[in-house]
C-alpha cells in the first residue's frame, strides 16, 4: 500500500489545485460564493470518473499507478463532499438546504451515469478490434 500512496498523493494535490483554481474562476462568473461552482466541479469529476471506470480502465493494460493517480487522486481530490455540505449549511433555510443538497447530489449522480454511458463503448473497442483482425 505504501507504494500506492505516492500516485494518490500527487494526484490528490493536482486535483485540489484544479478545484481551487476552477472554483475561483467559476465564482467570478456565477455568484461570489461557491454554491454553483462546486456543483459544476463535482459533476465534471463524477462524469470523468464514470467515463474512465466504465471505459478505458476495463482494459487490462491500464497501469495500476495511473488508475490510482487519476481515480482516488486527481478526481477524488478535485471533487468534494464536505464543501457541498458546508454550502448546504450556509443556506440557512431548511427547504433551501434540502433543495441545494438534492440538486448537488442529483447532478453528480446523473453526471456519473452519463459518464458511464459515454465511456462504455471504449471498453469493448479493443476487444472487438482483436476479433476483427483474426
Amino acid at each position: 500500500m505504501k507504494k500506492d500512496l505516492l500516485p494518490v498523493a500527487i494526484g490528490g494535490a493536482v486535483g485540489t489545485a484544479l478545484r481551487i483554481l476552477l472554483d475561483i474562476m467559476l465564482s467570478l462568473i456565477f455568484f461570489s460564493v461557491s454554491l454553483v461552482s462546486l456543483i459544476v466541479i463535482n459533476a465534471l469529476g463524477a462524469l470523468l470518473l464514470g467515463f474512465v471506470v466504465a471505459g478505458i480502465w476495463t482494459r487490462p493494460k491500464t497501469p495500476h499507478w495511473m488508475k490510482l493517480a487519476v481515480g482516488p487522486g486527481v478526481l477524488g481530490g478535485f471533487t468534494t463532499f464536505s464543501g457541498i455540505m458546508l454550502q448546504g449549511l450556509f443556506v440557512q433555510n431548511p427547504w433551501a438546504t434540502a433543495g441545494y443538497l438534492a440538486l448537488s447530489i442529483g447532478t453528480s449522480l446523473f453526471a456519473a451515469l452519463l459518464g458511464i454511458w459515454l465511456g462504455t463503448p471504449f471498453a469493448t473497442k479493443k476487444a472487438t478490434r482483436k476479433v476483427a483482425k483474426r
Binding site: G12, G73, L75, G77, M85, G88
Partner: protein, 126 residues
C-alpha cells in the same frame, strides 16, 4: 489567500486524498457491497469542515490556516466522484437498497456532521 496558503492547501489536499485512499484499503468494499469507507470519510470530512468553519468565525483560526484546512485538507479528503460512481454502479447492478442507503445515508450523515461540527466549534448562530 496568498501564494503560501495556496501551496499549503494543495499539499494538504494530497495528504487528504492519501488518507482517503488508505481508508478504502483498510476497509475495502466488496464488489457491489456497501462502500462504508467512503461514507465514513465523507462524514468525518464534513464534521471537520463544520468545526473549522466555526473556528474561523470565532477567529480561533487565521483565515489562511482555515483555507488550507477547509479547501485543502477537507476538500481533498472527501470525494463526490467516487461516491457518485459507486452509487450508480450499484444501481445498475440492481442493488437498489445498497445504492439508496448510500445516497440517503451519506447525505443525512454529512449534513448532521457539518452541523454538529459547527456547533462543536461554537460557531455563531444567526
Amino acid at each position: 489567500m496568498n501564494f503560501l496558503s495556496l501551496f499549503l492547501a494543495i499539499i494538504a489536499g494530497g495528504i487528504g486524498a492519501s488518507l482517503r485512499y488508505a481508508s478504502t484499503v483498510i476497509l475495502p468494499a466488496k464488489k457491489d457491497g456497501f462502500p462504508l469507507a467512503i461514507l465514513m470519510v465523507n462524514t468525518v470530512g464534513s464534521l471537520l469542515v463544520g468545526l473549522f468553519t466555526a473556528m474561523l468565525a470565532n477567529a480561533v483560526l487565521m483565515p489562511e490556516v482555515g483555507f488550507v484546512l477547509v479547501a485543502g485538507f477537507c476538500g481533498g479528503f472527501t470525494t463526490m466522484s467516487t461516491f457518485a460512481v459507486d452509487s450508480i454502479e450499484r444501481l445498475r447492478a440492481g442493488h437498489w437498497m445498497v445504492a439508496g442507503l448510500n445516497i440517503v445515508g451519506s447525505t443525512a450523515l454529512g449534513l448532521l456532521a457539518v452541523g454538529g461540527g459547527y456547533l462543536l466549534g461554537g460557531g455563531p448562530l444567526s
